[in-house]
Symmetry: C2
Subunit: 539 residues, 2 copies
């Protein structure tokens, strides 16, 4: 009696250190696989077809096969994918880091084009894919779908993935393309949220002008509020760190506060049903412009690399998981039952996605080119093809969307197809993108590394964020990235330049005295990152 | 019909971004509170009584009151505490960082004393507390306890908390004390695991010599295996990073790999039912001695501060939670039912803990002093009092233990008491420790900051890990930390010195060529961290 009670008490104690045995095994394997992805991804870096996300995907696939064999065909993944894991822990560091490292000048110079791509383009693409799916799916016999399902298909496949773009294009080598495709992906997220809201609240059978205006109003409201929240959080972090001047005491407190504030901005946006992606992206931009300059030198290096590392780990994790899950038995049951239908569905959707993107990329690029006077700012046909192509690549966000939408509504076969298609597209397009960019832009090295910030060796010793990019505007000596630096007339004629000029005045007069910023450290002219961009921005 | 299906599909979509609303609210509040802890902790740093863990505890307490009032007395905490959260995510970064930043020379010089404190001391203390509890609790009427429960009480209250020590003592100012108390806490963990195993597998009614030998054998087996696992993982990380030379490409990959390998070591130890704390601690030591020197300059700064930041955040999180949970209604129900008994139980346990520690600290210190010939290496009476006192402070680990042990075995009232006592001890002892150290050691500044690595301003620009400490041995010019650097005889007479000497030869001849280490970067003599220690190591 005593002995048995004993055993129960002590087994409870032991369970403290052993915890849930299965989850410990899973975690061990997952961490070991992540290590393998980093090492193998590094070894395969010189390879023509591979990039790190594809490496992770393939390693996940191989592991899936092994697990499938060991568990005798029962399951192929270690962890159960939860949307919380993805949207609460993995996505925020990826998007924040993108905002933190983005070249602000390029981004804001192409702001109008990016907005057009992200807002109008997504709606156009979603409409075409939905209509196409309604037309074609009726002819195939694949269960009952209603309008809501078709719109969901349209929304999923119209969603460009900003995470994926980071791996396909290199910010330093193709800054214009990068800012366009990546910016599109960020704005796209806000559009998706509005689209879903619209589907829910409007009577879709009576589409008229009023509904369109309401939609536009909702979009602007969401976009502005999300942006404002991100900017406000960033400014508060800058103000607090400047006032308290943590540097006197501890780098770790500064880093912790920056991390927490960035995460808080995302979670607040989720709380108020705004676009968390937009918010955390703008928070990253503001933090790199103000907060980052208010902290100590060690904090600057630490934040730069710690954020990049977290983002890198989150991405690798997602691709590893997706690779493992590609072998999910349930998903393939439908495919094996009717392989013909499955191939047909996949082909139709792939074609529609390509058509949907083509339907807005080329017309909008044409319109954008009409407004630009300078030849180097125009988007030429090769660049248009790259934008179209890069946007086709599905990434982690699309996969997560596909997972959850159809799993919950019970359309397992549709989910299976969606996953299959996205996986296929990622692998195929990911592999073809390197050669394509090399073919279309022979002067530029096609780098598909996830991590582009350390390609310039000097940045190891003189790490400068791209915040300096924006600041170089006032310094004529380093001012090589304007196509015609001598022409003051052309300079003033372009409206974005003028906006930038007024912004600079406002920034210097009101913002910097309160929130800190570049003034806190001496500006180093001609930093390595800056030069490398200038040379490459001229095609 | 169509509309309702619509609504359900779209609500599923929306749930993607809004997720579980309650958990989003909790996360927001928790992140905001963590920010508040950092800022307020910084503002109160000059205060005589406060330190950062107490600030977090008090903020948690205040928030608990507010939540209690808002939820009308239903509950006081935001998140449900899970042992997984603590043992899988919060504890590893804290212990790893401790190993990564520990002064290796001090630690290994006092290795024998530390082992005696950690192994023998814990057994002595556990026995005294268990026997005392059996004696006194029989006279009070507080439910039925059997021998297992009493041993559990003994084990919990004999467990010194290595995490807590980091906040009470400063490594730079009191290196000997720090290494003794902190080292005791690390070894203690291994002893606890062995103690629980012993309770489970041995027949406690027949304690004899054989059982004692078995116990000793188990302890040595567990200690050696855990240490070996940590050392092996650390060496593999050093070898991989040296061979692949990631620095050529990316700081982020190096940082990611170091993080993952460190975490892997902890998880592997948990998988094999070893002491994860010991493993990850030694992994940290090996990584700071080899791996850290093989990476780029940016990686070094990033890892140093990123690990410290993660550890800092984990600690603050734990204390914040404990503060919130202190108001748990269920826990106080028993206390309000019979306040007299509750006070008696608490007083008895507190007295037993003090007695248990005194019973081994003073005798073992006496024995340790007998073996030391040099006056400066002996532990004087003031230092003994500090060791005794600092070990009394309960911290996050003890709290987590107390939570789980008694919640599971159904002794809620005992859990309530345990939490109450640990909370009280933490606050009272934490507040008194600053003045006590100031009183006992008037020459040394009593710093109770959680983050001690940035107290030397120069370390911002020339960050040198304590790995350099060990290396200074060969350089006579910087060789100020030996009490009598001229006496070669005294040098050779002390056995630890000789062990150190052979280790150095082995390290240079076999380890460094394979695993890298200091040779990868030029050694900077007289680094700021080194000097500050030398001045203070002479009392």
């Amino acid at each position: 009696m005593l002995a048995s009670h004993f055993a129960s008490v002590t087994s409870k104690m032991l369970s403290l250190s052993t915890s849930d045995h299965a989850s410990v095994v899973s975690l061990n394997l997952f961490v070991a696989l992540l290590c393998a992805c980093i090492v193998i991804g590094h070894l395969l870096e010189e390879n023509r077809w591979m990039n790190e996300s594809i490496t992770a995907l393939l390693i996940g696939l191989c592991t899936g096969v092994v697990i499938l064999l060991l568990s005798r065909g029962k399951n192929s993944h270690l962890l159960v994918f939860s949307e919380d894991l993805f949207f609460i822990y993995l996505l925020p560091p990826i998007i924040f880091n993108a905002g933190f490292q983005v070249k602000k000048k390029q981004f804001f110079r192409n702001f109008v084009t990016i907005m057009a791509f992200g807002a109008i383009g997504t709606v156009v693409s979603c409409t075409i894919i939905s209509l196409g799916a309604i037309q074609f799916f009726k002819k195939l016999d694949i269960g009952t779908f209603d309008l809501g399902d078709f719109l969901a298909i349209g929304a999923i496949f119209a969603a460009t993935d900003s995470v994926c773009t980071l791996q396909v294009l290199n910010q330093d080598e193709t800054p214009l393309l990068y800012s366009l495709v990546f910016g599109e992906g960020v704005v796209n997220d806000a559009t998706s949220v509005v689209l879903f809201n619209a589907i829910q609240s409007f009577d879709l059978t009576h589409l008229n002008h009023e509904a369109a205006f309401k939609f536009l109003g909702n979009f602007l409201y969401l976009f502005l509020l999300s942006t404002l929240l991100g900017v406000a959080t960033g400014l508060i972090s800058a103000y607090v760190i400047k006032k308290l001047y943590f540097g006197r005491h501890s780098t770790d407190r500064e880093v912790a506060l920056m991390m927490l504030m960035a995460y808080l901005s995302y979670m607040l946006a989720e709380l108020f049903a705004l676009s968390g992606i937009l918010t955390v992206f703008f928070c990253g931009i503001v933090m790199s412009h103000y907060t980052w300059h208010n902290v100590t030198e060690s904090s600057r290096i630490t934040t730069k690399h710690a954020f990049a590392t977290l983002s890198f780990l989150a991405e690798t994790f997602i691709f590893l998981y997706v690779g493992m899950d590609a072998l999910d038995i349930e998903k393939w049951r439908f495919v094996s039952d009717s392989p013909g239908t499955s191939v047909a569905v996949s082909s139709i959707l792939m074609g529609l996605v390509m058509l949907g993107r083509a339907a807005f990329v080329f017309p909008l690029s044409f319109l954008s080119n009409l407004s630009k006077k300078n030849q180097s700012e125009k988007i030429d046909i090769k660049q248009q093809i790259v934008i179209w192509w890069a946007g086709l690549m599905r990434g982690a966000v699309s996969m997560a969307l596909a997972y959850n939408k159809f799993t919950r509504s019970g359309h397992t076969e549709l989910r299976g197809n969606a996953i299959m298609i996205t996986s296929t597209i990622t692998v195929v397009f990911g592999m073809l993108t390197k050669p394509l960019i090399r073919y279309l832009m022979p002067h530029q090295k096609a780098t598909t590394s996830m991590l582009s910030d350390d390609n310039t060796p000097k940045s190891i010793n003189i790490p400068l964020l791209d915040g300096e990019q924006l600041d170089s505007f006032e310094l004529p000596g380093t001012h090589q990235d304007l196509p015609r630096p001598n022409s003051l007339r052309g300079f003033l004629m372009r409206p974005t330049r003028t906006v930038h000029h007024y912004w600079r005045q406002f920034d210097d007069a009101f913002m910097r005295p309160v929130f800190g910023g570049r003034g806190f450290v001496p500006f180093v002219p001609g930093s390595p990152t800056e030069r490398s961009t200038h040379d490459l921005s001229k095609p």
